[in-house]
Every structure is written in structure tokens, then in C-alpha cells.
């Protein structure tokens, strides 16, 4: 703390000029966030005031043509799909990360690293397309229905957040507790036990941030989910029925929405923004705790 303050106090005016390009670039990022925030509030607030936040959030019917703007079914859709995706992806990702960082040979580690970075670079629409061409038929043929469903969306979304969570968790596990791992082994513990009882607990903050980031990504993911989830605005009924997420709702309707309808979409975007922002704040707090 002290060292940092000293560093800043000693800056001269000429130093400020030197750092101007950096400062301006950084300011751009802050400006972008503020602008988005301002825009969402300006667009969304009137309708929130008009129909009330609780009616917007908890009302089950979304019929823009009748002036009914309840996004509860879409909130549930987002929550269900996100949690199911996390349920599938998080354990797999953490186990993969643990395997990569402590158990696998170097050459295999390099293979995994490359595969993960490719996976995270694949555009969302490609995941959606893949889901549509492979996961949808599999679900349709195995469970019946038309295949575009909550289950399908969850599987595709799990696949999408898997590389993010794995890469971050792997970094956390590798940086935490190398000595702890060796100490546990030096007590005669086998590798698996050392991993589960010593290394993973020591890396828990990093792993939690990895999971939070994965969830933030899942909440915001739009295109791929929209392509395979069916997009019914009705309340989610079962794993094999279609659902619509908040993001999909905005993407699908913003093209033709006007007036209150448009404002209601902005309000739901504001809600999303708040949720993702809170997740980021939680990640920040966890990160600070770690130090």
C-alpha cells in the first residue's frame, strides 16, 4: 500500500504528459463502461418506473403487443441454463485443470493448452451451429421432442464455458501450493489425495474466481444459446422443452421493437448488466482476499 502511494505522489507534471497516451487509453475503457451504463439507465428507467421493477421481474407473461412485459420466464430460462451448464462444466473443468497442472506429462500438457485456447477462440455462432447440427439431433433421437431445448442449450453452453474455467482454474492450481503438493507427497500421500485435500483447498479462491467468470460468460452468452434453445417465451417446463434466455430475448426482438417494448428490452439488459457487474465485483473481492 505504502509503496504504491509513494510511487504516485512523486510524479511530476512532465510525468503526466509522458503517461498521457496510457491515461487516455485507460480513460476510454472507463468511458465505454459509463456510456453503456448511462444508456441502459436512460433507455430502461422510464419503463421500469411505469410498470414497476417487481412486475417486470416477476410477471410471467411477455406479450409486447398487449403491453405485458414480464420477463420472469426468461430470467428462469437464463438461471436454469446457466446453472445446468455450470453443473456440467465446473466439475469437469476443475478435474481437467488439476490433471493438467499436476498429473499429466509435459507433452500432453502442451496439447491441452493448445486445445483449450482453440476452444475459447471459436466464435459463438460456430458453437451454435455445431449444437444445431449434432447436439440437437442427438437429444431429439434419444429423448424425443424437437431437440431444441433447455438440455441442449445447457450442453452447448457448458462446452463454451469449459475452456474459460479450465484455463483459469489451471493457472490458480499451478501457482498455488507447489510446495504444499510436494509436502503432502513427502508425507506418503498419493497424488490424488494430495490434489483433493491439499492443493485444491489451497487454490480455492482462484478456482472460485474461475467459476464466477465462467458463470458471467454463461449469463451473457447469446447467439449459440439462441440457436439451440427453442426460444419459447412460456415458463420453462422441462429439460426437453424449449426456453428463452434474457439475452436471446433482446437479440430476437430488438430489431422490430419500439416504444415501451424497446424500453422493456433495455430494462432487461440493465438487469443483466447489474448481474454481470456484481459477479465481477465478487471476483474482484475474492482476488483481493487471495493477496
Amino acid at each position: 500500500m505504502l509503496a504504491r502511494d509513494n510511487g504516485r505522489k512523486s510524479m511530476k507534471i512532465s510525468d503526466y504528459f509522458e503517461s498521457l497516451p496510457f491515461l487516455m487509453s485507460a480513460a476510454l475503457a472507463v468511458a465505454a463502461v459509463s456510456a453503456i451504463c448511462f444508456f441502459l439507465i436512460a433507455e430502461g428507467m422510464p419503463v421500469i418506473k411505469k410498470i414497476g421493477i417487481s412486475k417486470l421481474v416477476f410477471s410471467k407473461s411477455w406479450r409486447p403487443s398487449e403491453g405485458k412485459f414480464g420477463i420472469f420466464s426468461m430470467i428462469l430460462g437464463t438461471v436454469y441454463v446457466t446453472s445446468m451448464a455450470a453443473l456440467i462444466a465446473v466439475p469437469t473443468a476443475v478435474l481437467t485443470a488439476a490433471f493438467m497442472s499436476k498429473l499429466c506429462p509435459t507433452w500432453l500438457y502442451k496439447v491441452f493448452k493448445t486445445v483449450l485456447s482453440i476452444l475459447s477462440a471459436i466464435p459463438s455462432v460456430v458453437y451454435g451451429f455445431f449444437g444445431l447440427m449434432t447436439v440437437v439431433p442427438i437429444v431429439r433421437n434419444t429423448f424425443g421432442g424437437d431437440g431444441t431445448s433447455m438440455l441442449t442449450a445447457s450442453v452447448v453452453l457448458a462446452l463454451m464455458i469449459f475452456p474459460t474455467v479450465t484455463a483459469m482454474a489451471e493457472a490458480a492450481i499451478s501457482s498455488a501450493a507447489k510446495e504444499n503438493y510436494h509436502s503432502a507427497l513427502a508425507l506418503g500421500a498419493d497424488k490424488v489425495r494430495s490434489l483433493f485435500f491439499v492443493v485444491l483447498p489451497a487454490a480455492k479462491n482462484g478456482i472460485t474466481s474461475a467459476v464466477a467468470l465462467g458463470i458471467a460468460r454463461a449469463v451473457g452468452e447469446t447467439t449459440a444459446v439462441m440457436m439451440v434453445s427453442g426460444n419459447q417465451t412460456a415458463m420453462p417446463q422441462s429439460l426437453l422443452k424449449g426456453i428463452r434466455t434474457i439475452t436471446a430475448n433482446i437479440a430476437l426482438e430488438i430489431g422490430y421493437a419500439a416504444d415501451d417494448h424497446r424500453a422493456a428490452l433495455a430494462a432487461s439488459a440493465l438487469l443483466l448488466f447489474a448481474v454481470v457487474l456484481s459477479i465481477n465485483i465478487i471476483i474482484g473481492i475474492l482476488g483481493r482476499k487471495k493477496q
Binding site: 510436494h182 513427502a186 508425507l187 489425495r193 489451497a202
Partner: protein, 251 residues
């Protein structure tokens, strides 16, 4: 005839193309403290890590030659986990697990099947007493071990290693990260422990080697240059390299 607890025969250790240890042969006496000295990179830490097979973890590490523990080949006749239970290790940086003091101690015994609270309580008290930590922590056994001071953490790590009743204790510069008072406490503990353990300690401090060790082994460039009873090695070193090293290390 002294009892040779650990016997090293023509040991070579290679990382990729780099020979870290070159054809080393020596032995470590039971119930004694042996100091390994030498400049950084001479292979003394690698020697230590080879003795409990932590080198197994390094993918590109190749070991040739034999290490015998009570006349048994540690690479062929003893499983790695059993070996590490019998040959404990304390590392340079204190590294308690992120759990309570009590659970740190109980970790090892629990792995090896000791579940009863009475037994574990007894082990905790005995090992903490051996590590000269009991009086300082006996009322806080449930406290997270990371809250202890550096010196206390290192003594906890010694206690943790003792909890599985090792026959040999490897100490890799175990006092170098600590203040002099804490280091002195750990030296006392080591002298006490040699009654029931064979201790092999890597150290950068000549003074420490002189204070605590019975025998000193001087390595340079992956080879043993000279080994002798500590008093003899420091007062009348035979090799020119040893003389030079001791002179520069003592300043």
C-alpha cells in the same frame, strides 16, 4: 561397524542433457546429522529430493545408480508412498496446509489409516512437543496454520513430518527463511530429534553445519569433493576446493 541407514551407490541424476549429480557414492549414519554443503546449483538439493523420490515428479529427470534404505533399493523394493512415509522432508519455505494446526499434523497419520481421535490427539501433542511448538499453540489447535509466524510455521512443518514417524528426515535449508531466534530453536529441535531419526540437512550456513552436524559432505559441480566428520572437515580440509569454499563461505 556403524549402521548405514542410507547408502548411495554410483548415483547419477540427469535433467534432460544436464548432469546434476555425477556418480555419487556415500552413506548416511543412523541417528546422526549429516550436513550437505556446497554452492548453489552443486546438486545438494537434487540429492535430497532423489532420496525420497520427489524427483519422480519431474518429467525429464533420469536417475541411475542405487540408493539403499536399510539395505533395500528405494527404486525397486520400496513403493514411493511407503518410502516417503519413512523418509520425511522439510522444505526451505515454511508451507503449512491451508487448514487448522491440528489438521496439518493429523494429515499424515490419517492417510496412513489412523482415525481415532485419541491417537491423533496424542500424536499432535507429542510431535508438537518434539518440534518445540506445543506450549505456544496448545490452546489454538483449531486455528488456521497460516496465521502462525514464519518460525512457528516451520516448526509446525517439522511436527507434521514427524507425525508419520519417519526414520529419516530430509531438511532442505529449513532455517534459511527464518530469523536467527527461530533458526536457533529449530537447530535445538534437530539435535533433539537425532535420537530417533537420521537427519540429512542441506545448509548454506557453515556455522550451522559446525553447530549441529556430525558429518559434512561437500559437493561441487555434481560431485562429492570431500566428506568427513564435521570437526575434521572444517579444521583440516584435505582438498584445495574444500579449503577455498570454506574460506569464502566463512568470509
Amino acid at each position: 561397524m556403524v549402521n548405514e541407514k542410507i547408502c548411495i551407490q554410483n548415483l547419477s541424476v540427469r535433467y534432460g542433457d544436464v548432469n546434476i549429480l555425477k556418480d555419487i557414492s556415500t552413506f548416511f549414519k543412523e541417528n546422526s546429522i549429516t550436513a550437505l554443503i556446497g554452492s548453489s546449483g552443486c546438486g545438494k538439493s537434487t540429492l535430497l529430493r532423489t532420496i525420497n523420490r520427489l524427483t519422480d515428479l519431474d518429467g525429464n529427470c533420469a536417475v541411475e545408480g542405487k540408493i539403499l534404505l536399510d539395505k533395500k533399493d528405494i527404486f525397486r523394493d520400496i513403493g514411493a508412498n511407503e518410502l516417503r512415509k519413512r523418509v520425511g522432508m522439510v522444505f526451505q519455505k515454511p508451507n503449512p496446509f491451508d487448514m487448522s494446526i491440528y489438521d496439518n499434523i493429523a494429515f499424515g497419520p490419517r492417510i496412513h489409516g489412523i482415525k481415532s481421535k485419541i491417537d491423533l490427539d496424542e500424536i499432535a501433542e507429542n510431535t508438537l512437543r518434539s518440534a518445540a511448538l506445543w506450549d505456544e499453540v496448545k490452546d489454538y489447535l483449531k486455528k488456521n496454520a497460516l496465521k502462525l509466524s514464519g518460525g512457528q510455521q516451520q516448526r509446525l512443518c517439522i511436527a507434521r513430518a514427524l507425525a508419520v514417524k519417519p526414520e529419516v528426515l530430509l531438511m532442505d535449508e529449513a532455517t534459511s527463511a527464518l530469523d536467527p531466534t527461530s533458526a536457533a530453536k529449530i537447530e535445538e529441535v534437530m539435535l533433539e530429534l537425532k535420537q530417533r531419526c537420521t537427519i540429512i540437512a542441506v545448509t548454506h550456513s557453515m556455522a550451522q553445519a559446525i553447530r549441529i552436524s556430525d558429518k559434512t559432505v561437500f559437493l561441487a559441480n555434481g560431485m562429492i569433493i570431500e566428506e568427513a566428520d564435521t570437526a575434521k572437515l572444517f579444521t583440516s580440509p584435505q582438498e584445495a576446493k574444500t579449503k577455498q569454499f570454506i574460506k569464502s563461505a566463512l568470509g
